[in-house]
Amino acid sequence: MIPTLRGRLQTRLFAVIVIGGVCTALVTPLLPGFPPGTPVSERYVDTFSVLAAVLVLGIFWEFVYHFLQQFRWEKDWPTLFGLLTFANEVLLVWFALRLGWVPNIESLPPARLWITHFVIVWIVIFGFLNGPMKVVFIRWRFRGGRLVGP
């Protein structure tokens, strides 16, 4: 990818809200680790709260990535980085969960629950951005990842 800062932010919003949203809506009922008997509505509150954390923290990360990108002559963002950044992002989400920063979630949920959720969302977004996204939005790859605006 050859993102611009605005393109990064727009892509992040689109990817997490739309793709992450659909993905979360589909997988929440199937995720392991909820205490038995948790009502579906509460499950959704939990998973969407984690997704919201990924979004908010992700916006912070995009600024960091944009800064790091400046060190690259090509001003590109290699595909591999899109996978590696999994590590720092998951770590920050973990901190946020532990410190109780995430609204609606008082204590750290079981790892197999939120990490499974996180990994699924991550892989689906990664896959979507590296293929179908370009099919649906023909100009996206030529516009630094922007979807709207100049």
């Binding site: 050859i2 002559w73 001003k75 590109d76 290699p78 590296n130 293929g131 649906v136 023909i138 630094g144």
Partner: protein
């Protein structure tokens, strides 16, 4: 400096001849704007089409592919071309400059002339195309997965993946059938463009049909010009040598047919000078090093005018350099095709400013390739590949071969004897050297930009050529210096074509390609169904 004896196009060839048996210097050609009456008085049959694209090479093909997706038909878009297949000129230039069919070219996995979406890329397609890999001698599971694995990692620890030229040809062949490309073609060579008084354009062209070499005219609302390079360009001292001594055997251009050089070096050995330090020069050097490895007793003297000792620039603008070469994956930083560099160019209003960015980020450079680096090192250590930095003062016949007087930076001069000199410095891109473009500058209202090429706006409309509701667009090498730095590349041609298509859509000429149209059309492409 250009060589008017050399032609590069496989079709009708030389686009630079200034007289013609049948065209004529009909008096009406002196008029810049024609009425319908003027067109009739020219005495050639007049046909009409909504849009005409001149060239029929990679640029016209990319453009037509997109316009078809945008809802136009073969009837709406006619292509005047001197070749049958859009890659013929490209293939010829590749072959001469030592990129045979299964050699890797220099653009990325997502630069696909048959697919504007960039998905699935050439790497993935290579993984799943067993026939292709077999023909290229790449058998086994490891070799099948390598391309896809490479694009996942690149460029961290691996060189950028680039497709083989045959992949480009094969994918174009498939897309040609899907689009019914022959149905778009008006085989021939465009001679003149005249604005039509009532709006739109007239294009005078010479049909290829050799039995009836009579000019014809197409009238169209819009025009698109993608005519590639006018011809070969030689370094001034080499051009002087060729003209003065009538010797075009010892001194050759990398882009013209020059197999005799390799044949003789293989048979009898000898010394060859390579001039230039860009992608073509390195390919020539590589070919020679391969021949040497296969037993030819040859020595290469590589002459650099600008020797890049090490990385250049500082901070956020640092480009790698070593052993004479500047390195980057493609001819521009990747962001030139739509990222930060693209935005910067679009924002830069002054032509001088854009030229400066182009010089800084483009210019002469080569990609890093492991195999090349290895044979360069071996050649340098073994002494059969030498590098020399300096200005050439003169080239004279050496009986046999040639003698070049080279002045180095410290002022000393030395004479270098060589059996052959290969000029790898470039192709001509001056629009003045192209018959049609020169005419467009003289009669069509077109002007020159800060880089000496056709002046186009952000939508690739040629400034000064508008005719009523008609618009004239140009893309490719002739428009370098405009708002898209890498316009002379596959992806650059596609990006430019998309900008033109969007401009046409705003005028209601074709449909805008939104998410639904885009997805549906991709699906048709995937199933190989006509758009």
């Amino acid at each position: 400096m250009t060589d008017h004896s050399a032609t590069i196009a496989p079709g009708r060839g030389d686009q630079r001849g200034h007289t013609d048996e049948s065209s004529g210097s009909h008096p009406v050609l002196s008029k810049d704007i024609w009425s319908d009456h003027d067109a009739r008085s020219f005495g050639a049959p007049v046909e009409s089409a909504p849009l005409v694209s001149i060239g029929g090479g990679m640029g016209s093909f990319a453009f037509t592919h997109i316009l078809r997706i945008a809802g136009l038909t073969a009837h709406d878009v006619r292509v005047i071309s001197d070749i049958d297949r859009p890659y013929e000129t490209y293939e010829l230039l590749c072959r001469n400059s030592q990129i045979p069919a299964y050699e890797r070219i220099r653009s990325d996995s997502g630069s696909m002339m048959d697919n504007i979406w960039g998905f699935p890329g050439y790497a993935l397609r290579e993984t799943f195309n067993r026939g292709l890999r077999r023909r290229a001698g790449l058998t086994g599971l490891g070799r099948a997965l390598a391309p896809s694995w490479n694009v996942l990692l690149e460029p961290i620890g691996v060189d950028y993946y680039t497709p083989m030229s045959s992949q480009v040809f094969e994918s174009c062949d498939r897309e040609m059938v899907r689009l019914n490309w022959p149905g778009h073609l008006l085989p021939g060579t465009a001679r003149n463009i005249r604005r039509r008084q009532e709006g739109g354009y007239f294009t005078v062209y010479l049909p290829r049909d050799r039995t009836r070499r009579q000019l014809r005219i197409v009238q169209s609302q819009h025009l698109h010009v993608s005519v590639g390079y006018p011809g070969l360009r030689f370094l001034p001292d080499l051009q002087r040598y060729r003209t003065e001594y009538g010797d075009s055997t010892s001194v050759v251009n990398a882009y013209e047919e020059h197999e005799h050089v390799y044949d003789q070096l293989r048979a009898r050995g000898g010394t060859v000078i390579v001039r230039g330090s860009g992608i073509v020069a390195i390919r020539i050097v590589q070919r020679l090093l391969d021949d040497r490895a296969a037993g030819a007793n040859l020595t290469i003297v590589h002459l650099f005018r600008n020797y890049v000792e090490n990385s250049q620039g500082s901070g956020f603008q640092r480009r790698r350099g070593r052993r004479g070469f500047a390195y980057q994956g493609f001819n521009y930083p990747k962001s030139g095709w739509g990222g930060q560099l693209f935005d910067q160019m679009m924002r830069t209003e002054s032509p001088e400013g854009r030229s400066a960015i182009i010089r800084r980020t483009g210019g002469t450079n080569i990609p890093h390739r492991r195999a090349w680096e290895k044979s360069l090192t071996a050649g340098l250590n073994g002494g059969w590949y030498r590098q020399l930095q300096g200005e050439v003062e003169s080239v004279v016949p050496g009986h046999p071969g040639t003698v070049s007087r080279v002045r180095s930076a410290n002022g000393s001069t030395q004479e270098v004897f060589a059996d052959f000199i290969i000029d790898g410095t470039g192709l001509e891109a001056d629009p003045r050297e192209h018959r049609l473009l020169a005419d467009l500058l003289d009669h069509g209202g077109a002007g020159i930009n800060g880089s000496g090429r056709l002046d186009v706006d952000r939508n690739f409309e040629v400034r000064g050529t508008r005719s009523g509701s008609g618009r004239l667009y140009a893309i490719g090498a002739a428009t370098l210096g405009g708002y898209v730095a890498p316009v002379d590349s596959f992806l650059g041609l596609q990006l430019a074509s998309l900008l033109v298509a969007d401009d046409l859509a705003r005028q209601g000429f074709c449909k805008r390609i939104g998410p639904i149209r885009s997805t549906r059309q991709w699906w048709r492409w995937a199933r190989n169904v006509a758009p």
